[in-house]
Amino acid sequence: MTHLIASVILWLSITIELAWSGTIPQGALLLPIACGIMFWMRSVTGLLLAATALLVDWIARPGFLPLCPMVLPVLAASLIRPSSTPDDYNARRRSTLKMLTPLHLPLLTLVAIMLHLISQRNLSDPSTLHELPSVLATSLPTLLMISLPVSAAIAMLMRLADELGLRRTSRHWI
């Protein structure tokens, strides 16, 4: 059931972006939602679902390289804790690295947006690489204005679901 809901949410976010393409920049909604699904499901299926949605979106609206579906699953695999162990919210037992756990989702979203902006440029042209910082500086705030609140909302929703026991840990990690 979770898989179906996740698929529908991903499909809906792509359709909303397509419908409001004049208002919502490409990736502003899909990227935080895809990252959120990876972190919410904490499983191979979640990773594959989100990455497949990103790849399908790239096929529908291609750029230079599909950097998001290439790199994001690798980053997520290194950050996500297995679903067989619950997220640790105990402040007393936390190390400095563990304290950054709630920021993983917004950070991954930030990386995803940067990858998305880079992948929209023609990287084979050396002059594009020089222009990249200025392009990032101009386009990043527009995307972040939508993506970061969505990402923060998903992170808070995950915490709330954990507190209420709605996001159960499963024995299997598939």
Binding site: L12, I14, L18, T23, V56, I59, P69, A77, N122
Partner: protein, 320 residues
Amino acid sequence: MRVDCNRHPMWFAALGMFVLSLLVAVADRTGYLSGMRPMLHDAFSPGRLVVLAMTPEPAQSAAVASATSSASAGSGDHMAARQLQLLRQLMIENARLRQDLKRSRASDSMANIEDPVEPFSVHALIPANVLSSSGMPDSLRDLIVSVGKSNGITRSELVVDGSGAVIDAGTDAGVAAGDRVLCGSSVIGRIEKTGRWVSLVQPVTSAGFRAQVQLLRASEDGLHFGAIGMLEGTGATECRLLGIAYTDAVTVGDSVVSADINGVRGPRLFFGTVTSAEFLAGGQWDVRIQPGFTVSELDHVGIVHTSVQPQVREMASAAR
């Protein structure tokens, strides 16, 4: 240790997606995905249309807002583009009037029977949004637009930029049957494939694109239509013009407009400007043309839809 063992499937999945994405990127470069893209957009279209249907007002207000914001942001460029378009339109109209005057002086009756198909056909501009474009801004490969078979779009119809003049002007606008309606719109490409809700557009610069065009020259005496030739896409950023004999005059800066629309005389559409003209040994000119549209401004387009006049359709159905 148990966690590390658990991570293996996730690492495998991530690496699998990495490889799959690379393969997809290669397939896109080799053109294997162009057929799949309209299918994907068709699959998203029900949701997209539902979202649009549920929120008509915000979409309209957003369009207005984006239009006003873009106007305020780049008002200088926008005004210049508008003026250029108006100038183009006036140039074409001037040339058309000059040619019409010449023709009417020669023979009124000949002018009437010159194109017997013309009164039976009617051209309409169907507006559409650009859903996606593949390729980089300097080398557009294809476009997906938000109209398809359900809007009556058929293959090989011309696609023009959305900021052009309205071409479906009727009697209210002083257009009588038999008049050629003029348009300053730039041709972007041609419908290559139609889905139910979306269509794939082949840009003028792609290797397979062909269209019959005519040169339009500005001289001291005014504007004149020149030689008719075949415009071909080169697969790069420019087009070439073939079939111009060595006896015809070609000058850098000449405008290139459509000679007809799929064999039917219709609105004169702007294709581009001659950037170089070299004489070939085979007795022809090698003419290079810079297309007249800017990829970055392609948000809205129009499809020039040719159909039979409603009266003719009624007569045909009555005869049956």
